[in-house]
């Protein structure tokens, strides 16, 4: 989908002026669910306090941030959440909330509408209560989240279901689509399961293989629907994964660090939630200093697609949704390739009719394996001699 001309110009101006147009702010990592695939540590190691968050919001408004996503953890666990929301709205931010909705009551839904929240994204894992509850590890969570969706819809709020896909819920995706239709809410899936923030990769075992995802790759309607809400969202997140093309993103991997960034509940600033490279801490430095002067942001901004060591020469680039953050987390190199992206790109290419698609990364590793095997034979031969 192409960005509207207005969005295109906005993205262009923010890129040119290095304006942090979209910020994802996790205000807590605490949570009242214990989702099996979650990458967070839910302990509170000293979250930003109310005045600290307000101070950061004031700095963001001054820096030009318009789109603000409050996420977590579960945002409503913060006792001051409505105070923060009210403050953010007094600074005229465009607000998206991400929540599991367990704590959204009818009264809270009214308040969210009054405050002018634009969109609320709610995690629903399955249309089957048992599957959903087994993933969240909270009995009754499906029923409560669904009830909250109804409260929000009654208020005319824009709700979107977000469904992270994993082995546990893949087979129920069609039924989830029907449920979303019945509720009259759009839904999006997320095929990413990321390693834990502490580097633990055990949860990666829950993600579906490229072969298992073939139906999802073949049938675009299973991946969710684009909504008018996405038009305003297109600047936040990936130029690739949002599916919205803007000329302003040409030549760079994604928006991370260019016109978007992430803030943790402890004040750390990263280029993206999926790129946990600490560029500074707002308890010690100003946002302005971190955004404009940190070497980490400078490094991310300097990356150009045509200079990526392996990917620049890959024939499957148009099928690939490589995320530099995942490249960093899974392959240890922001500019590198990584297996997951290659496998999905190969599957997409196969579905599109490409015969024997092979990514540049896999071609290279296969070449290396052959060379190792060949040198092994030489050793064996020399031993025989």
């Amino acid at each position: 989908m192409n960005a509207t001309p207005v969005m295109d110009r906005l993205v262009g101006r923010s890129m040119k002026g290095s304006v942090p147009l979209g910020v994802h702010f996790d205000v807590t990592y605490r949570c009242n669910e214990r989702c099996v695939h979650c990458y967070l540590d839910h302990e509170d190691y000293g979250e930003l306090e109310t005045p600290e968050v307000k101070n950061i919001l004031t700095q963001l408004a001054a820096a030009g941030t318009l789109m603000l996503t409050f996420s977590g953890g579960e945002i409503f666990l913060r006792k001051d959440f409505f105070e923060l929301l009210e403050f953010a709205r007094s600074l005229h931010f465009d607000i998206t909330l991400k929540s599991n909705a367990l704590m959204i009551t009818a009264e809270r839904a009214v308040r969210l509408r009054e405050l002018g929240v634009r969109q609320i994204q709610i995690s629903i894992y399955s249309a089957e209560p048992e599957v959903h509850d087994a993933i969240t590890k909270v009995r009754g969570s499906f029923a409560r989240s669904l009830q909250a969706i109804r409260f929000l819809k009654t208020q005319g709020l824009h709700v979107k279901i977000a469904c992270p896909l994993m082995k546990q819920n893949l087979s129920g995706l069609r039924r989830l689509r029907i449920l979303a239709d019945e509720l009259s809410v759009p839904y999006v899936i997320d095929m990413t399961v990321t390693p834990k923030l502490d580097g633990d990769t055990s949860i990666l075992a829950m993600r579906n293989s490229a072969d298992e995802l073939v139906d999802v790759i073949q049938d675009a309607s299973l991946r969710g629907q684009a909504t008018p809400d996405d038009a305003a969202e297109s600047v936040v997140g990936s130029a690739v994964s949002s599916g919205i093309e803007s000329d302003a993103y040409d030549g760079i991997p994604c928006s991370a660090g260019h016109n978007t960034c992430y803030i943790s509940p402890y004040g750390e600033v990263y280029p993206c939630v999926q790129m946990p490279i600490p560029a500074g801490n707002l308890r010690r430095e100003s946002f302005e200093q971190i955004w404009h002067r940190s070497p980490q942001f400078a490094r991310v901004r300097a990356i150009r697609e045509d200079q990526l060591p392996v990917c620049a020469a890959c024939n499957l680039r148009k099928y690939c949704e490589r995320c530099p953050g995942l490249a960093h987390m899974e392959g240890g190199d922001l500019t590198g390739a990584y297996d997951r992206a290659c496998e999905l790109a190969e599957m997409k290419a196969r579905v599109a009719g490409v015969a024997n698609p092979l990514s540049a990364w896999h071609a290279q590793s296969r070449g290396k394996a052959l060379a190792v095997r060949a040198s092994g034979r030489l050793v064996q031969i020399s031993q025989h001699l």
């Binding site: 101006r13 304006v19 408004a61 030009g64 318009l66 465009d94 929240v117 634009r118 909504t227």
Partner: protein, 88 residues
């Protein structure tokens, strides 16, 4: 109308980005980009000025005559109102 304070729709999100005001409406997610004159009027309306005051400021800032400034201000405010950007 001239002495009336202009009140912006409080439910809107907006920011001045590189000299232009960008407004997002939460009801329909429509993004409005205001041109230079409209941005100027928006920012002064935000500060609680009335139509005549805004027109006067426009005269100075853009070197247009008073009648033109008044017409432009009223015209743009009518567009704001039609698009749901004003509270009144």
């Amino acid at each position: 109308m001239n002495r009336e304070t202009v009140v912006l729709n409080p439910r809107l999100a907006w920011r001045e980005i590189q000299g232009r005001v960008v407004v997002i409406s939460p009801e329909d997610s429509v993004v409005h980009e205001l041109n230079e004159t409209a941005s100027f009027i928006w920012k002064h309306a935000e500060r609680g000025r009335n139509v005549s005051e805004i027109a006067d400021l426009l005269t100075t800032e853009f070197r247009v005559d008073a009648a033109q400034a008044q017409a432009d201000t009223e015209g743009l405010l009518a567009v704001f109102s039609q698009k749901g950007l004003l509270a009144n």
